[in-house]
């Protein structure tokens, strides 16, 4: 009887598989992409998740395109001119641009969009961050957009690159906050065809795009909640490309015929940081709920320096990332290209030297329990170590760090904490000793450089409590330095300062790993500093394998 049921099941399976759609030679070229996420919203103003921005990049145009090497190129404008004082930008919009519905895209749409972002404080990034320096925006009869800034800034490109141009004829009639934008009327190289949240996004090619008409006909992003399924899907050819995978799957997938695995700095480079609470009691932001219970030894640069010397970054990379990462220096990741100060020399892994530093600074193990005490003998060097419980890699790192730092007489009390609860402990509460967390970087270094500033302490962006007037001064200076080389020098000097002060120990910058099937499409861009196969640069370039 049991066998009979099995037969019924198998029969059912056969019937069902017969229902599958056959593929003929003339079938449209459909790129199927597997990813582990789904856009939070298609309303660009409300969006928070990076995957939403991936879709915006494909469906919308913006003033500038961000290239994989970190540079920018003008997109919908044929020229950009700036006044002598640097506060008035005039963009001449190209003639003949069209929305997907055939209506013309003009300077009026651009001005409307920028004003929309500027006047909607509920838009967390597009208003809160990218329009900070906007004063007013107007369009002229000559198809020009005149953007007036409150002050001259050096990074107008990175301020405008995510401000996707929206069609005035749609958006002037909708509620800018509640509009879900499922139709997504855009002008970019792909058109929105169908969207089911948490299932898939289906885009069709806009073969009439003015700059980069795609060669394929359709792109589908399919959501996978399960990383094993993602890997299995590319192995069996259910998808043509996957944007992420666990590092443990890499070796296995590399052995697969017709699949190529690539790794490199992610499109939005990330950084993993070991955070020391060095908030001085006298600076504690009590009004913002500051408790400032950090271990006093961590306010001593010698202790942090010793910890830096006792941290074997290469081992962390090899064990945790299986080699898929680069050793870290400061919060500015190497994926940011020119902004990354590669002239800095890291503190070498040297346990003896680390011990020497602690000995010299007066941290001795007076009671012989293997743990050093503060110079006055009052406190052992026992630190709480916390990390967000949703991180898969960090428990292993905590274990490795516990062993490494034990060598220099430091004991850790590791504990994972719910990310939201950790945020509550972190900033500006400063109710912790050491935390392991991470950041994702904006294309411009300003965002992460801000984290070190004194200003960031009450706002909860500073996680260390580090305060250095010289650094703050340089931060403000680089914000308004228009000359590229000059600004780069300042940004490099800032990295040197925080590296010298050992504000953080940055174990690594993790790489992103992606894979594509070599028997389906060719032309993926794999030779740049950063990799992102789902970026518009690859998707407009690939074509079916003949």
């Amino acid at each position: 009887m049991k066998r009979k049921f099995l037969y019924v099941f198998l029969l059912l399976a056969l019937i069902l598989s017969a229902c599958g759609v056959g593929q003929s030679a003339d079938a449209p070229a459909v790129v199927r992409i597997g990813w582990g996420a789904s856009p939070d919203t298609l309303n660009p103003g409300n969006a928070i998740l990076a995957v939403s921005y991936t879709i915006f990049e494909l469906v919308y145009d913006s003033m500038y395109d961000l290239n994989l090497d970190g540079t920018f190129t003008l997109s919908i404008a044929e020229s950009a001119e700036v006044s002598d004082d640097g506060t008035v930008w005039t963009f001449k919009i190209k003639d003949g641009l069209k929305w997907h519905d055939g209506q013309p895209l003009t300077a009026e749409d651009v001005a409307f969009t920028y004003n929309l972002y500027l006047n909607t404080p509920e838009y967390p990034y597009l208003n809160g961050y990218y329009t900070t320096y906007f004063d007013s925006i107007e369009s002229t009869a000559n198809n020009e957009v005149v953007l007036t800034l409150t002050e001259a800034i050096p990074n107008i490109e990175s301020q405008l690159v995510f401000l996707y141009i929206l069609p005035k004829h749609v958006w002037e009639n909708v509620d800018k906050l509640e509009y879900e934008n499922f139709e997504m009327m855009g002008s970019g190289p792909f058109k929105m065809a169908e969207y089911v949240q948490n299932e898939f996004v289906r885009l069709t090619a806009n073969k009439e795009h003015f700059a980069t008409p795609p060669k394929v006909d359709e792109v589908i992003f399919q959501t996978f909640d399960n990383q094993d399924a993602l890997v299995q899907a590319i192995k069996t050819g259910q998808v043509d490309m996957i944007t992420e995978m666990s590092n443990t799957a890499v070796a296995n997938l590399k052995a697969e015929a017709n699949v190529e695995v690539i790794s490199g700095a992610p499109f939005s480079p990330g950084v993993t940081d070991i955070i020391f609470n060095q908030m001085l009691p006298e600076n504690c932001p009590v009004d913002e709920g500051g408790l400032c219970t950090g271990h006093p030894a961590l306010q001593d640069r010698n202790v942090r320096l010793a910890i830096a010397h006792a941290t074997n970054k290469q081992q962390l990379i090899d064990v945790i990332l299986l080699g898929l990462g680069t050793p870290g220096l400061t919060l500015i990741p190497d994926g940011l290209g020119v902004w990354y100060n590669d002239s800095l020399v890291d503190y070498e892994f040297d346990v003896a030297k680390a011990n020497q530093i602690l000995d010299d600074a007066g941290y001795a193990d007076t009671n012989g329990d293997g743990v050093r005490e503060t110079p006055d003998g009052s406190l052992p060097l026992t630190f709480r170590l916390n990390w967000p419980s949703d991180s898969i890699d960090t428990p292993r790192m905590a274990e490795l760090l516990t062993d490494m730092w034990k060598q220099i007489g430091i004991t850790l009390q590791p504990q994972a904490i719910d990310p939201d609860a950790l945020t509550a402990l972190c900033c500006p509460t400063f109710d912790f000793d050491i935390m392991i967390w991470g950041w994702v970087s904006d294309p411009d270094p300003s965002a992460l450089l801000y984290v070190y500033t004194t200003d960031a302490i009450p706002y909860g962006s500073s996680e260390t409590g580090y305060a250095n007037p010289r650094y703050d001064e340089l931060y403000n200076q680089q914000q308004v330095t228009l000359d590229f080389e000059e600004r780069k020098e300042i940004v490099w000097e800032m990295q040197k300062i925080v590296h010298d002060d050992v504000v953080y120990v940055i174990p690594y910058y993790a790489q992103s790993v992606q894979a594509f099937r070599t028997d389906r499409f060719t032309g993926w861009i794999t030779d740049q500093d950063k990799i992102e196969l789902s970026d518009v640069s690859s998707l407009v370039r690939i074509e079916p394998v003949k």
Binding site: M1, K2, L16, N198, E199, Q222, A421
Partner: protein, 328 residues
């Protein structure tokens, strides 16, 4: 009714005891400035006191007891609910009712088919095993059922996923993107293909449980005197089962099914995440991570109603199966 009222109250406070700020929702981004977070809090109404005298429950912040009680988060929540308004998701900005309806339908589809198959197969095997009690067939059936019941769902799911993907079955989602333009029959065929693996997993896991319960309860009944009487009357085995034994043996199974049904509206979270099935379970999981209060409140209300409804149905079935149990 009282239960639902209690759930409505509990739902509101339960989630607000969680630490964390929904306006930040675990987002760590230096680009997210304090002004933007404040604007979001105002938009979601989170700047208002929770209830008189309390501004926040975690950490507990004592507020002004003199505030207008009509202008608190709690009152607005109750008022909206009475108007049938579940609010908007903080995370996706979509109406909660719309999101939940979408997800509920997916879950009901998966769980419904899975339950029906599990009930039919489980009952079948259970009856068969009880009828052939203490033979080698019975031992095999009991052994297999125990094994199936104790299998970790996600592990079985992953195994089936590997097997299925090697045999060309879809392993993620509910439908092939682009199918919506196809004829309805093909669309349904496509959904059925996508449902095959998760449903199979679900059926296998629950089948074992039902087999065991059916078997033991039927064996109990079969040892009753009136069964002996029936045998003595010369009734066939089939007649004894159908007319005399089965109805009585069904009671425990109905109880378990009702309990399972009520709770599985919450979605078989493990199955849903293995096969990327867009059901209620994964929606709840995501909402917890994002502190998406409106989704959580809506979903838990839905689950409470489902549990109550399932129990009510079980009670009705009792009185049908056993006339001694009468609805008062």
């Amino acid at each position: 009714m009282f239960t639902i009222l209690f759930v409505i109250l509990l739902n509101f406070f339960l989630f607000r005891v969680l630490p964390g700020d929904p306006a930040r929702a675990g987002v760590r981004d230096p680009r997210l400035k304090a002004d933007a977070v404040e604007a979001l809090r105002v938009r979601f109404g989170l700047d208002k006191p929770i209830i008189n005298c309390f501004n926040s429950l975690n950490p507990i912040q004592i507020g002004d007891c003199g505030v207008n009680p009509l202008d608190t988060q709690f009152f607005i929540y109750v008022r909206n609910l009475l108007q049938g308004e579940l609010g908007f998701s903080y995370h996706t900005n979509r109406p909660v009712a719309e999101v939940l309806a979408e997800r509920l339908w997916n879950t009901v589809l998966l769980i419904g088919v899975g339950q029906i198959l599990a009930i039919i197969l489980g009952m079948g095997f259970g009856i068969f095993a009880a009828w052939r009690a203490r033979t080698s067939i019975d031992y095999v059936a009991v052994g297999t059922s125990l094994l199936l019941w104790s299998l970790p769902t996600f592990w079985l799911g992953i195994l089936l996923l590997f097997w299925g993907s090697a045999n060309g079955l879809p392993i993620a989602g509910k439908a092939t993107p682009g199918m919506s333009s196809m004829p309805l029959l093909q669309q349904w065929g496509d959904i059925a293909r996508h449902m095959f693996l998760p449903t199979l997993t679900y059926t296998i896991v629950f089948m074992g449980e039902y087999t065991l319960i059916m078997r033991s309860s039927l064996i109990d009944v079969l040892s009753e005197d009136y069964i002996l009487t029936a045998k003595a009357k010369g009734l066939s085995a089939f007649q004894i089962l159908k007319d005399h034994a089965l109805k009585n043996a069904m009671l425990p199974l109905v109880t378990v099914i009702a309990i399972n049904l009520g709770f599985t509206v919450a979605g078989a979270i493990q199955i849903e995440s293995v096969f990327s099935w867009p059901g209620l379970g994964s929606a709840i999981f995501e909402a917890v991570v994002r502190r998406d209060y409106p989704i959580l409140q809506g979903a838990f209300l839905l689950i409470a109603v489902a549990v109550i409804l399932a129990n009510f149905l079980a009670d009705l079935t009792y009185s049908y199966l056993d006339p001694r149990v009468q609805a008062e």
